[in-house]
Symmetry: C3
Subunit: 320 residues, 3 copies
């Protein structure tokens, strides 16, 4: 899918002077390729602007001097809203078109599974009753999909994965531009989800597609029931996410990170490899690997235990 830049700016309501080009997608400043549109809506990413490969960038005029040569500046006071409007042009419209997948050997596919177009299945794939597999999804050999699983378009699933009933992979991430009149304008989620080999996902868990790029679950990672992995998270290999854990958007886990039941982490964090987050903890900042953390806000577990003990002691000793 591509659009002329002149068409995009007209749709989103920005003035544009310069050479017209074809735009074939949207991505962040650091990840945008030559034919893509990008945006800058927060100071924290300003340092990426001078080095971007984007063909055009939506941004406010205060950053104009950082725009690299050859990149078109699309000036606006509402860059995030304009981005949201632009994502709409590149959205993948849901469709009820069905097709026959390309199948490997010895697949077992229940009769009422629905496939979108251009689905590819490896050997020995089992897909049970009531599942939906969206367009351009690839499911590699030996993977088992239990009943009533919904897999949105462009999902990649590795070998020997086990996806339990009711799981939803690739639903839209939760992203909106908030307008001054109080309304929220959807940022269409045009990325996808990729699961490595030997991933297991428990019943009714949800893994959202990326806004741009890919939400990634590393090989060997095991996810329990009712877990939420938000858009653009990147999980390393062999992580363990116990039931009802939630990761907010763009949080990155190293390898072998364990998150206990009902724990959570806010977005845009990094949790190092071999870190363990105790049950019901809430992570609010990036954490080094190899340690155990607990509490909310999460601190090292020994510190948390010491705090709890002191607190008990304070409460007991004081007479009031």
């Amino acid at each position: 899918m591509s659009h002329k830049l002149s068409k995009i700016v007209k749709e989103i309501g920005i003035d544009f002077h310069g050479d017209d080009v074809d735009i074939d997608g949207i991505h962040t400043l650091s990840e945008a390729s030559l034919g893509q549109l990008s945006f800058l809506s927060s100071d924290r990413y300003a340092h990426d602007l001078p080095h971007t490969n984007a063909a055009a960038v939506i941004l406010s005029s205060k950053y104009l001097n950082l725009v690299p040569k050859g990149t078109v500046a699309l000036l606006t006071d509402e860059p995030y809203l304009k981005l949201a409007l632009a994502t709409r042009l590149f959205r993948y419209s849901p469709s009820i078109e069905i097709a026959i997948p390309k199948k490997g050997n010895n697949c077992s596919i229940a009769e009422n599974v629905t496939f979108g177009k251009n689905v590819v299945l490896g050997d020995n794939v089992t897909i049970m009753a009531g599942c939906y597999v969206g367009d351009y999804t690839m499911i590699d050999s030996g993977t088992i999909i239990y009943p009533n699983v919904s897999i949105y378009h462009h999902t990649l699933i590795g070998q020997r994965c086990i996806i339990h009933a009711g799981v939803v992979i690739g639903a839209d991430g939760y992203g909106y531009a908030h307008r001054s009149d109080g309304r929220h304008t959807k940022i269409h989620q045009n990325g996808n989800v990729s699961l490595g080999d030997s991933v297991e996902i428990g019943a009714n868990s949800t893994i959202d597609r990326a806004v741009f790029g890919t939400t990634t679950i590393g090989a060997g990672t095991k996810i329990d029931n009712l877990v939420q992995v938000a858009h653009n998270c990147e999980l390393g290999e062999n992580c363990l996410l116990v039931c009802q854990t939630a990761l907010a958007g763009s949080t990155r886990l190293g390898d072998n990170v364990t998150m206990g039941g009902q724990s959570g982490a806010i977005g845009h964090l990094q949790i190092g490899s071999h870190a363990t987050i105790a049950s019901r903890s809430g992570v609010t900042k990036s954490l080094a690997g190899g340690k155990i953390y607990g509490g909310f806000p999460a601190v090292e577990h020994t510190v948390w235990l010491r705090m709890q003990a002191k607190l008990q002691s304070l409460i007991k000793k004081r007479k009031d």
Copy 2:
């Protein structure tokens, strides 16, 4: 559906003397209309009794002097249990009867979608594979329903809504009369759910139907994945409920209320417009609008931060 009052009292085991009338439903004291049955099981609603329009009220004898003229008093020591038994008479039995919906123009309906009777769809409605749409449900123009969504009977869905995979709308609220022998008798949930325009609901979230009346989601409200909205909640416009949030029964949110991830609110509260509830907070009393709250029990966020700082300081200074 209507029943003679004489039949109802016989079924639920209450003595009845007076004129027989047709009863066409059950509602709260304040909302009951002329032909309806009501009940009083808690002092907090006694003030509604003198003004009720209900044809008959189930209640204990201590409230007898507050019953308005023309309303039949149905006396019992167990009003809540008797109510539960009465709701059974007005329940809507699940049925596997299927029918062809009345459709607007340009709808895209997957082949294996199941419709109950008397469903009405607007123009340009998309319903993907494996969905169930119950009796008397109306889905307005431009709405998209992703795969494996379950919509119970009598649900109203506005224009341009987006309902993600695995969502359940209109399942029974969680309501029981607790008997002295320890058993729980179901209060049948005879209300419904209504979604305004431009509502988006994330994957595997659940919006319960009202016990009486309507669970309401205001226009422009955006709900993330794995969120629970209980029976009789009323959400204003443009609210944001982030993943794994739960609202207990009958809680009301104004407009533009934001509830962070894994937060919750107990039942029968009011949260004012433009209030923001931080992630993982638990709201235990009604909150004024326009402010930021955090912690459990939730207090103003600045207070919570000050409390946390003082706590740290107390713990550090003390030697034990």
Copy 3:
């Protein structure tokens, strides 16, 4: 399903000297019957070893002197990993084979319900659109299954149960042997789930099958939406589990235990009958019945309230 012990030890890589026998399953030391394989991987269960009926036990050599006569010792330094490998031999492979269930009178089964083999339904069972009912499942009289429910093989469901849309019963419990190289080897979950009479389960909740034996929900227990009950939990009669509650593996509840919304309990605990756990509490040790508990870690609710009050007082009085 049964395998020669000689075949099992070859598959899992343990040396074996002694008489070969048929092994027809795997269970814990205390529950294993004469023809079964068992294992010992934690000191806490060593006291069960001398009394086990198991035909063979996987264990480390330090327990060798506790092995009863007639039981074959299978010696290894990695008993839990060897167990995991052995469970694979007894796993029930998912299949897309369909069959016609044995039905009682007056059942209402939607057209697109999928049944595995050897399913038995009582009288007056209703199963709505999109459900999946796995092999050897029994659903007793008067039970209602709402749309898009997934029930795995060998599940037992009592009379007059109500299972709401999107529920998953019998998915695999979350169990792995953790290898020294960081990978996790699946412990196949070869048990099942049993629901007593008059159980109600709310939308999108998940009840996992046992690793061995049965995950049990007692008669009259009512479970709200988005609740997780892990493998091998045993719930008594008339319990109430409010929305988003999670029970970790092997935790046992007496009768009439109430768990408030968003509460949780870690695994291998016992909570006595008529205990009430307040909303958002986290139970970390076994609790006596008949009392109210709150906080995290959960303590008696009066203690928790006193702690909170003292804390407030400390914070207010101190000047810093």
